[in-house]
């Protein structure tokens, strides 16, 4: 028989979104997975752990509503609840922004764990947007997490950093790590100029949870401050599938080759000329 307390603890899941390399799509992934989970009726808290270079607030379109931030919570300048910004578009979605005028040393892993444990009581999912690098910011972000989403692009530099991150997560006792391959371009894969999802999986050898195609709609969505998860765009569909898989459902992977083959052939002709 489970008691209420352990049931409560088990219910909430803390996911860190990390990559090692910068600019591969951690923040975009955090925003979309978090929004997608909220759209599925879950109570979600997004935490931006990138102190000094916060961005999740702008990707979410909530930058004008920040009053308190993570560092204020840690330093006791406000209560946890005061720092949470409610996203009015999606019930159950909250953001805890990071501080822009401080640096990574303003928070330590023990303080992060304390904040997360407090939030666990109120949320189904807590998504931590990890900063690039493997220094203190990374250590802070992973400290309180149960599982990790490792984001990479099919490029040598991003894969190398992802491999390093996977090693560090393993060393920190993580046993659930899932891979998101971002910005895949099927036309380039077909030309032999980009590693395929299978190639990346073979190298990194952790379970795949999503393949997100390179999609200009992501830029448009970021411009507008509204994550595109679930929208009728390739990346929107891909992120919607990631969300379903995070929830534990088995969803077949999208076959981007189908949609792109004709276009590739046409461009192939132009290439010859």
């Amino acid at each position: 028989m489970e008691n209420t307390f352990s049931g409560e603890q088990k219910r909430s899941e803390v996911i860190v979104v990390t990559s090692g390399k910068g600019g591969v799509g951690k923040t975009t992934t955090s925003a979309n997975v978090g929004t997608g989970l909220a759209k599925q009726g879950k109570k979600v808290c997004l935490i931006d752990t990138d102190i000094g270079l916060r961005n999740l607030d702008v990707v979410m379109g909530l930058e004008n509503r920040i009053v308190y931030n993570l560092v204020d919570v840690v330093e006791g300048n406000c209560r946890v609840k005061q720092a949470l910004i409610r996203d009015k578009r999606h019930p159950g979605l909250y953001l805890m922004p990071s501080a822009q005028t401080r640096d990574k040393s303003a928070v330590n892993p023990a303080q992060m764990i304390k904040v997360i444990d407090h939030l666990r009581e109120q949320f189904d999912y807590i998504i931590l947007d990890c900063p690039a690098g493997i220094e203190q910011g990374f250590q802070n972000a992973i400290a309180g997490a149960d599982r990790a989403l490792v984001v990479t692009t099919p490029e040598v530099s991003a894969i190398r950093d992802a491999d390093r991150i996977i090693g560090l997560l393993e060393a920190n006792g993580f046993n659930q790590m899932d891979l998101i391959i971002n910005r895949l371009r099927m036309d380039m894969v077909r030309r032999g100029d980009m590693m395929s999802a299978q190639d990346v999986m073979d190298i990194l050898a952790i379970p795949l949870i999503g393949i997100v195609p390179d999609d200009e709609n992501v830029v448009v969505a970021t411009n507008q401050g509204e994550p595109l998860v679930g929208s009728d765009s390739p990346a929107g569909q891909a992120y919607a599938n990631v969300v379903q898989r995070v929830l534990g459902k088995e969803i077949p992977f999208l076959n981007f080759e189908k949609g792109i083959s004709f276009w590739t052939r046409v461009s192939g002709i132009f290439h010859k000329i």
Binding site: V156, D163, M195
Partner: protein, 97 residues
């Protein structure tokens, strides 16, 4: 199409480079440690045969089966042998077995 006949695809180049890169990253073996390993191997082997310790090389390689994740990492030592027969020591080793 253009580079189909000419050379390896850039995808293949990337994979090959990553394979080698990740081995050295994962092993986390500093050159000093590699040197110590090399010296120890040389010491052991030279108990049985005369080797050219100056020109020996050690490397960490992976042999990946294309089908899946079963890549095996191995330490390869290339040790030039100067003289195989070192009779007196040879006798000792035979006695052991």
């Amino acid at each position: 199409m253009r580079n189909f006949f000419r050379r390896k695809s850039s995808c293949q180049v990337a994979k090959d480079r990553l394979k080698i890169l990740l081995i050295s990253d994962r092993v986390n073996c500093s050159p000093e440690i590699m040197e110590l390993i090399k010296n120890d191997i040389a010491k052991v082997i030279s108990r049985y045969m005369k080797i050219d310790a100056e020109n020996m090389e050690i490397q960490i390689n992976t042999k990946g089966s294309k089908a899946g994740k079963a890549t095996k990492t191995s330490l390869c030592a290339n040790i030039p042998i100067v003289d195989v027969s070192k009779p007196d020591i040879h006798k000792d080793t035979q006695n052991v077995y």
